[in-house]
């Protein structure tokens, strides 16, 4: 039994009273994470703190870099050296990481970027939760690209989805963003660690000797540094063998469309949502992250009305089909979120029914009653 | 022997100017890309110090043991 397995065996089947940020670390360790690089920032710091304590125990490496740009750079370098690598940050640091996230997209580098969203723009309310980086996660780095982003609503999900983030990163060879919020990150509740054998971990697909690692397949296999394959990794437009070609329109078109397609065409395999009471619903509430909790509470309070609930676990790629189906069924969709309507605007693109944002900013999350009264008033129930 | 790779040479003449014993000269002949290539004129003086070989930015000149 190797060191990691021994370590994980100690945790399986345990019930822990855990912080959201802490659960992310345990999830990452169960997913095989062996490299972390980060920079202190509220409200994500506990992730780096627990990583620094736990990662050496499984013979992994935890680095505090000089800034967030260096953190994501080290993560990408480590990933190309065979590591399952992760970084964690919050808004200002996430902004700094954008260029290298684009590099990870372009070079198809599996890695996980945790963004514990806090109230912005700029320094904003550093210690307060928000959900204002939804669109930044999607479009923050320049150029056409697709991205995968998941959002947890409980401490248990911090653990479960952290594993899912690593698996998606490996399966689709792409950076995956774990879009948490300050609320869930600092929430302490029950975490049940499942038995080791029940945890599915996706391992990296290695390229054969003559296989191209930047094309030929929708998701090409990967080689690592030091295998003697003399890989050439560049953020410039490159051919299937990795060699730079910045002149050919065809090469760029083929590459960028493939990077787009590998997420877009697998949308149904990636997307996860949770649906409740939608069978006969005429009204629906769509929420995600911390906001899903009071939103569901409000829905429960209105069970005598035909109101349903959908929680987005996957934010990007957007659950297009699920939202379209919902739009055909209900007359009105309420979207409570801790921003000025980022997901509600995305929903509007796919439905013909009315979409009503319940926006709240300023660092205090919605209460059940707030959402309840808002909907009740609007529906004149 | 001093050998010059006509395909790689860009005619910068660094080898010509910095040869410690002045073995080379810029020829009047152009290569296919329009560069004036160096040419050995006093090869008997060559001490095989390989300075030209090492400083050449294009890997276009080298000394063989012949």
């Amino acid at each position: 039994m190797d060191i990691r397995e021994k370590y994980l065996k100690n945790y399986e089947n345990k019930t822990i009273f855990s912080l959201g940020n802490e659960a992310v670390v345990y999830g990452a360790l169960f997913a095989g994470c062996n490299f972390f690089a980060g920079y202190p920032i509220t409200p994500s710091s506990e992730i780096a703190k627990v990583m620094a304590r736990e990662l050496p125990k499984v013979d992994g490496y935890c680095l505090q870099m000089e800034d967030e740009i260096a953190s994501i750079a080290a993560v990408i370098g480590a990933s190309w050296s065979g590591a399952k690598a992760m970084t964690a940050t919050s808004g200002p640091g996430f902004s700094l990481m954008m260029e290298n996230i684009g590099y990870a997209v372009m070079t198809e580098t599996p890695c996980v970027i945790v963004n514990v969203q806090r109230s912005g723009p700029s320094t904003g309310q550093a210690t307060k939760p928000a959900q204002g980086d939804i669109m930044q996660a999607r479009w923050g780095t320049h150029g056409d690209h697709e991205i995968i982003a998941l959002s947890p609503s409980s401490v248990q999900e911090c653990f479960d989805l952290a594993i899912e983030c690593f698996n998606l990163a490996e399966r689709y060879r792409t950076p995956v963003i774990f879009l948490m919020d300050g609320e869930i990150a600092h929430l302490r509740e029950k975490l049940v660690i499942p038995p080791l054998k029940n945890i599915h971990v996706v391992e990296r697909k290695k390229a054969k000797a003559e296989e191209n690692i930047f094309g030929g397949k929708l998701v090409p296999p990967m080689s690592e540094i030091g295998e003697g394959k003399f890989i050439h990794v560049t953020g410039s437009t490159h051919k299937e063998d990795g060699m730079r070609d910045i002149e050919s329109q065809l090469v760029h078109d083929t590459l960028v469309r493939r990077l787009y397609a590998k997420v877009d065409q697998n949308r149904e395999k990636i997307v996860k949502t949770e649906e409740r009471f939608l069978e006969d619903a005429k009204t629906a509430v769509v929420a995600y992250g911390a906001t899903a909790r009071p939103a569901f509470g409000a829905v429960l309070k209105m069970r005598n009305k035909k109101i349903g609930f959908m929680r987005l676990i996957t934010i990007w790629p957007f659950p297009k089909k699920q939202i379209m189906r919902l739009g055909e069924k209900v007359e009105r969709i309420y979207v409570p979120e801790l921003n000025l309507g980022q997901v509600s605007r995305e929903i509007e693109r796919f439905v013909n029914c009315e979409v009503v944002p319940i926006s709240k900013i300023g660092g205090i999350p919605h209460t059940v009653d707030e959402i309840y009264h808002f909907i009740k008033e609007k529906e004149q129930w | 022997m001093i050998k010059i790779n006509e395909k790689l040479c860009k005619g910068c003449s660094i080898c010509v100017y910095f040869c410690p014993v002045g073995v080379l000269k810029t020829s009047e002949k152009l290569n296919r890309k329009g560069y004036f290539l160096p040419t050995p004129v006093r090869e008997d003086k060559c001490t095989k110090c390989r300075f030209c070989e090492q400083i050449c930015p294009e890997f276009a000149i080298h000394i063989t043991d012949e």
Partner: protein, 280 residues
């Protein structure tokens, strides 16, 4: 004229299909590539044990794509940070960063300082041509005072960095400076840097005839190399010279050699202890 059918021996280390290089006539980048592969050849290092990490700019194109070995061509200024991740996971490999003054000192100066402080076993060959060459000759953090550039058309009024001194003050284990004229010494220093445990750094003063040369009225590689040759002073000799006497001169030679403990080695020692303790 002797036309060569054989190749220069070092070409075996290059990706043949990309030759000739993309560098301008008389550029120093090719000379540095030549010295780099000569150093590896002299040391009999298998290219499979080497990974070259570069940033953005002409000098980042020295190994990417020319060198036939694992190559990470990364974002502007961040090569050392990428290399840090590589070295931690691949401590037995030779991790070599090659990039320019604008890249490593300008946008990436922070990473350079911290890597030297951390003393991670990465070798950095900083190609200092005093200018942002690829973008058309803007002033860089090493452009001498008084020189006009594309972004300082009247003259550069900023003081340049003495970057080798900065890196040595940050704690690097080995620091040297040479010019592209001093090729044999450069190869020796590169060999030493590659072999040295801990952070090693060679500043290579290089010529950009196209976008620096035109501003200093030395428009060819030959003229700039002649200038390097005439104005270089060995560090031993420089010790007895005043600051005024050294103004405008290139102090070349090995500037520092020390033996601080290497970062990834310490990481591994620490991990071993923690694992032993944790498993009882």
């Amino acid at each position: 004229m002797v036309i060569d059918k054989q190749e220069q021996r070092m070409i075996k280390y290059l990706r043949r299909e990309v030759l000739p290089t993309t560098f301008c006539q008389g550029c120093g980048c090719g000379t540095i590539l030549n010295a780099y592969v000569k150093a590896l050849d002299d040391l009999e290092i298998d290219p499979r044990e080497v990974v070259s990490v570069t940033g953005i700019g002409c000098s980042s194109w020295i190994p990417s794509p020319n060198f036939h070995g694992d190559t990470l061509h990364t974002t502007h200024g961040r090569a050392i940070a990428f290399a840090t991740g590589v070295k931690v996971m691949k401590p037995d490999m030779k991790v070599v960063v090659i990039a320019g003054d604008g890249d490593l000192i300008g946008i990436g100066g922070n990473h350079l300082m911290h890597a030297a402080r951390r003393n991670i076993g990465v070798t950095v060959f900083l190609v200092n041509n005093f200018v942002y060459g690829m973008t058309g000759g803007q002033s860089s953090p090493t452009t001498p005072m008084g020189i006009p550039t594309a972004s300082s058309p009247y003259k550069n009024i900023e003081s340049p960095f003495n970057i080798a001194e900065v890196v040595s003050a940050c704690g690097a284990n080995y620091v040297a400076r040479w010019t592209t004229y001093h090729v044999f010494s450069l190869v020796d220093s590169m060999k030493h840097a590659i072999q040295k445990k801990g952070f090693s750094f060679v500043e290579i003063i290089s010529q950009c005839p196209m976008n620096y040369g035109r501003y200093v009225k030395r428009r060819t590689g030959v003229e700039l190399l002649q200038y390097f040759k005439e104005n270089s002073i060995n560090v031993e000799k420089a010790k007895d010279m005043s600051e005024d006497e050294l103004n405008g001169k290139f102090v070349v030679g090995e500037l520092i050699e020390r033996n601080r403990r290497e970062f990834t080695e310490q990481l591994r020692v620490l991990n071993k202890k923690i694992i032993q303790k944790n498993l009882g």
